[in-house]
Every structure is written in structure tokens, then in C-alpha cells.
């Protein structure tokens, strides 16, 4: 009886709960996915037993959301060059928000580099935005991960803020933190086709969802 009550409290619909699986199965699936050479593909299951996932931004959360034009901005990269997002139109763009203090953001950086190494040669542009960090922490991040793409410094956090959908995680007082570890896929017109926020319990460290969208867009443009 009490478990019924608890379900009511947490507002988690039963079907939203990830299906549990045993760890050996998860490991087996994971090693299979590596063994089959799916080129850096994500493990099939997270520790939670579910699919690696993101919190997809929806229209109900407010703009920007998929279907909207990505808010434009101009920021300096690690070499000091100013990069304007709209100058990348004509290419698919993967946009990733990063910070050095967030353990999840730190953990996914090697996979972001791997993602870029695989898809950069296919014409996909990668841009990381380091949010509101002191110069020292930004430099440390840049040196540590040596990304093969621009890592922009959003020193004031204004660009991050322009990407925060207003009606998600309303309890966050520092609003820019909503997009920490978020990633987006923009099509060649600069329209948002994918916008995922972090799902802590089904952490998608390997960018599996973003990869699916990029694959879809690449095959779309290949067909035309």
C-alpha cells in the first residue's frame, strides 16, 4: 500500500521507469557493441539498466526547442579567433555546452572528441561552449582535452542563457546551469533538430542520441 503512495509522490509513471536488467547482461551488450566495431558506439544499457538517454527539450518547455532557429552568437575560441555560429550554415553542427566543474561534463569530453574525430571528416562541424568559467579553468579544460574543434569561451554565460528553455528545471536559480552538459544538433539551415539536456540516471556520456540524429541528417542529405 505504501509503495502506491510513494509512486504518487514521485510522479513517475510506471512506464517511464527504465526496465531493469542485470549488470552481466549490460556488460555483455556493451562488450558486444564494442566487439562488433560500431566505432565508439555507446553501451546499449546504462548502469540504471535503461537506454542511455537525454531529457529532450520539447515545445512545452519553451524556446529554443527543436524546430526553432538556433540563437546566433559570436564568441572567441581557444586561439582567440571570433566564431559566429551563423557562419557555419551549410554544415551540420553539433553544439555542446561544457564546464570543467561538472563531473558529468568532464566524463563525456573524451567521447565528444571521439564523436568529432569520426564525424568531422564527413563534414559535420563541432563547437563546444565553455560556460561562465574563470580564464584559468577554461584554459585548463582546453589544454586537458585538446579538442580538434573550436572551444568557445562564454565568459558571462549569456550565450548559455539564451539557450535555456524557460520552463524546465524551474528550481534552478542560476538558470545557465540548466544547459550544462546539454548538446544540440543543427541542420544546414541553422535550425535545431535535436536538443538534449542531461538525464542523470541514464547518462548518455557517449552522445548516442546526438549520433542517431546526425546519422539521420547525413543520410537525408545523402539522398537528396
Amino acid at each position: 500500500v505504501l509503495s502506491t503512495i510513494r509512486r504518487k509522490i514521485v510522479h513517475v509513471p510506471k512506464e517511464a521507469r527504465p526496465v531493469r536488467t542485470t549488470v552481466p547482461l549490460a556488460l555483455l551488450l556493451w562488450s558486444l557493441s564494442l566487439g562488433l566495431g560500431c566505432g565508439g558506439a555507446a553501451p546499449a544499457r546504462t548502469a540504471q539498466g535503461g537506454r542511455p538517454n537525454v531529457v529532450p527539450v520539447t515545445e512545452a518547455m519553451g524556446s529554443p526547442h527543436p524546430g526553432d532557429a538556433a540563437p546566433d552568437f559570436q564568441l572567441p575560441d581557444q586561439g582567440g579567433a571570433e566564431i559566429k555560429l551563423s557562419s557555419l550554415r551549410g554544415s551540420l553542427v553539433v553544439l555542446a555546452f561544457v564546464t570543467s566543474w561538472c563531473p558529468f561534463s568532464r566524463a563525456e569530453q573524451p567521447y565528444l572528441r571521439q564523436f568529432a574525430n569520426e564525424y568531422g571528416p564527413r563534414g559535420v562541424k563541432f563547437v563546444a561552449i565553455d560556460i561562465k568559467e574563470p580564464e584559468k579553468d577554461y584554459r585548463e579544460y582546453v589544454d586537458r582535452f585538446a579538442m580538434p574543434f573550436p572551444v568557445l569561451r562564454d565568459a558571462a554565460g549569456d550565450v548559455a542563457l539564451s539557450y535555456v528553455p524557460p520552463r524546465v528545471l524551474p528550481d534552478f536559480t542560476e538558470r545557465y546551469k540548466v544547459v550544462v552538459s546539454a548538446n544540440l544538433v543543427l541542420d544546414k539551415t541553422g535550425t535545431i533538430r535535436f536538443f538534449g539536456l542531461i538525464d542523470l540516471r541514464n547518462f548518455d556520456a557517449h552522445y548516442a542520441r546526438a549520433r542517431e540524429v546526425v546519422d539521420g541528417l547525413l543520410s537525408e542529405s545523402g539522398a537528396t
Binding site: 500500500v1 505504501l2 509503495s3 502506491t4 503512495i5 510513494r6 509512486r7 504518487k8 509522490i9 514521485v10 510522479h11 513517475v12 517511464a16 521507469r17 531493469r20 542485470t22 549488470v23 548502469a47 540504471q48 539498466g49 531529457v55 566543474w101 561538472c102 563531473p103 558529468f104 568532464r106 566524463a107 563525456e108 528545471l169 528550481d171 534552478f172 536559480t173 542560476e174 546551469k177 540548466v178 550544462v180 539536456l197 542531461i198 538525464d199 542523470l200 540516471r201 547518462f203 556520456a205
Partner: protein
């Protein structure tokens, strides 16, 4: 207070199956798990002497791991302060452990945000975190102590883990609803005295006071607005209670009374449709199993924001097919958040 603490300790001998809300750690992540002894630690406190977890044996402990940069933790701090205030008289100790931040940053943050009723501890090395992180939680985090951030443990008076929750960004709720529900259950049992609900007499029947178990979820209402308090009656199998409109004048109706609370006005209690119980050819109006009573509440426009605990009583007469017990009145509490 000593008696209360004793009763709390007794209550800890409660149910064999431990609750696992949706945000719980999973069994396959490995130890520690609900039911295990909480790993002991001693950490420096921002105020006073170092704090050792095992020194709280005999009390309930709420243990939460944070860092000032963590936005989930930050959203939860006010609610943690409030739980500490609400349950201070019940002997609950709230321990907040900062993970691996420079001491000055943690001190500044704690001074600004954390109430004096909370123990503010500092795990400078992450060694304490490592004792708590289940080995297969968040395998992507290679720095294993990182996996403890924003975790919440409720530890019983014997030092065993009752709840072990990890953050869920999809269903994020900063008010600790699972912890509040668990504390409400536990404290209610403590209020009932050493005999736990369901304790039976020698002949296998229940005492009148053990037939119905009450829970009530926290209610959130805007200042100047209206809301609804829900009170859930869990009626023991094989028993029924008379409905709010019993079939005979001498049957005792089930009634809920809420105590007076400043700035709150309660409406008449709304009961669900009763069930009819066949008493050998005669059908009477009763409640069975689980019943949710709803009480409209109005909050005055000038009410202060914050947390209010409203005390109430439930009066009922319980019967089995064979006989009726004396009417009984039990106390319960319900939490309101005025925002």
C-alpha cells in the same frame, strides 16, 4: 525527548522490506544498499568538534552530499533546512557533507544558505564519498567519488541505511518527497508507541488503534490560494470502518479533524463513495482497504510563506465480520508548503 528518541529507536525495527522509490540506488549497483549498515566516518564540521556518524546511534540521520556548484543541490538546500527545523524535536540529525571544495568556498556558501540546525561537514579528500558510492553506480564517472554528488541517505537509529537516493534530472523534485514520506511513516509509528501497526493480540485480532494507518502527502498551496489536503487511510485486511455516513444512528462515523492553524481555513472533508458491507442480509455503509479523504484548504492572503505542519485526528469505529471494536481516535500530521 528521551522517550521520543526511545520510541523512534523502537520504530526502526519496522518493516522487513525497505522502500525503494524510483530515485533509489539499484541493487545491482552493489553496496552499500538500503538495509546495510551505513559506513562510519568522522569529518570536520564548520562549527564545533568533528562529527562521527556512529555518534548519532539512537537517532534518525539524514545525510546529504553536496557542492556549492551543484545546481540540484542548491535547489534542495532550503528544503533540507526546513526538514531539519520541522523534525528537530523528533531527534532527526541532518548532516550536509561538502565534497572536495576549498574550505573557504564551502564556508561562504554554508554561511549564506545553510541553517544552523544542520551539521555542515567537509570531506576535503573525497574518502568519505568513496565509502558510500556503490561500485556500479554511474560507471562513466572515472573519478569515483564524483558519483556521490547530490545523494541522500536516511539512516535509522541503529545505523542502517533506510533510503539511499540519487539525483534524477528527469523527475527532479527538490523537496525530498520520499524522505518526508518515510519520516512521516516512521514518526507516526513512533507516536503510536512501542506496538507497531499490525501488532496483533494473542488471539490474532488487532487492537482498535492498529486497524487504520494514516499517511498524508505534503501539499503545496499558494499564499492567498486554495488547495487540497489528501489524507490516506490504510485499513487492515479483514476489517472495515463505518463510512462518514453510517447506516445506523449508533454507528460511529469516520471523521477527520484538523487542528487550528493560523492563516489556514479548512473546508468540509470530502469522502469517497462508501462500499457496502453485507452484514448477513443487511447492507451497511463502510470503508475498506485504502480510502483517500480530501480536505479543501484556503490560505489567507497575508500568510507567511514556508512550511507548516498541521496536526489532525482521525476517529473511526472498526469492525470485522464477527464483531466491532471500540471507537478509536488516532493523531496524524500533514505538511503544507505555502509558496
Amino acid at each position: 525527548v528521551k522517550l521520543k528518541i526511545f520510541l523512534l529507536a523502537v520504530a526502526a525495527c519496522g518493516p522487513a522490506t525497505l522502500p525503494r522509490p524510483a530515485t533509489s540506488v539499484l541493487a545491482e549497483w552493489g553496496s552499500p544498499q538500503p538495509g546495510d549498515a551505513a559506513p562510519d566516518f568522522e569529518l570536520p564540521a564548520l562549527r564545533g568538534a568533528p562529527v562521527r556518524l556512529s555518534s548519532f546511534q539512537g537517532r534518525w540521520v539524514l545525510l546529504h552530499f553536496i557542492a556549492s556548484w551543484c545546481p540540484y543541490c542548491d535547489a534542495e538546500i532550503a528544503h533540507l533546512n526546513e526538514i531539519a527545523a520541522t523534525h528537530a524535536a523528533d531527534g532527526l540529525a541532518v548532516l550536509l557533507v561538502d565534497e572536495r571544495e576549498p574550505l573557504d568556498r564551502w564556508t561562504m556558501y554554508a554561511q549564506e544558505k545553510v541553517s544552523g540546525q544542520v551539521f555542515m561537514l567537509h570531506d576535503a579528500t573525497g574518502d568519505t564519498a568513496l565509502r558510500f558510492v556503490p561500485p556500479r553506480a554511474h560507471p562513466e564517472l572515472t573519478d569515483r567519488a564524483d558519483a556521490i554528488f547530490d545523494s541522500t541517505l536516511l539512516i535509522d537509529p541503529k545505523g542502517r541505511i533506510r533510503l539511499f537516493l540519487m539525483p534524477d534530472s528527469v523527475h527532479f523534485d527538490p523537496t525530498f518527497p520520499e524522505v518526508r514520506a518515510e519520516l512521516a511513516d516512521v514518526l507516526w509509528r513512533a507516536d503510536r508507541g512501542p506496538s507497531l501497526p499490525g501488532a496483533s493480540r494473542a488471539d490474532g485480532t488487532l487492537d482498535a488503534g492498529h486497524v487504520v494507518f494514516v499517511t498524508s502527502l505534503p501539499t503545496s498551496v499558494a499564499v492567498g490560494g486554495e488547495g487540497e489536503i489528501q489524507v490516506v487511510l490504510h485499513i487492515a485486511p479483514g476489517y472495515h470502518v463505518m463510512s462518514d455516513h453510517p447506516s445506523k444512528p449508533n454507528y460511529i462515523p469516520t471523521t477527520i479533524r484538523l487542528g487550528d492553524a493560523r492563516d489556514l481555513a479548512f473546508g468540509a472533508c470530502l469522502w469517497p463513495k462508501s462500499s457496502s458491507f453485507d452484514l448477513g442480509g443487511e447492507s451497511i455503509s463502510t470503508f475498506e482497504a485504502e480510502v483517500v479523504a480530501r480536505i479543501p484548504v484556503q490560505v489567507a492572503a497575508g500568510a507567511a510563506r514556508g512550511h507548516i505542519r498541521v496536526r489532525g485526528t482521525l476517529r473511526y469505529q472498526a469492525c470485522t465480520r464477527a464483531s466491532c471494536l471500540y471507537p478509536f481516535t488516532i493523531p496524524f500530521g500533514t505538511d503544507l508548503d505555502l509558496h
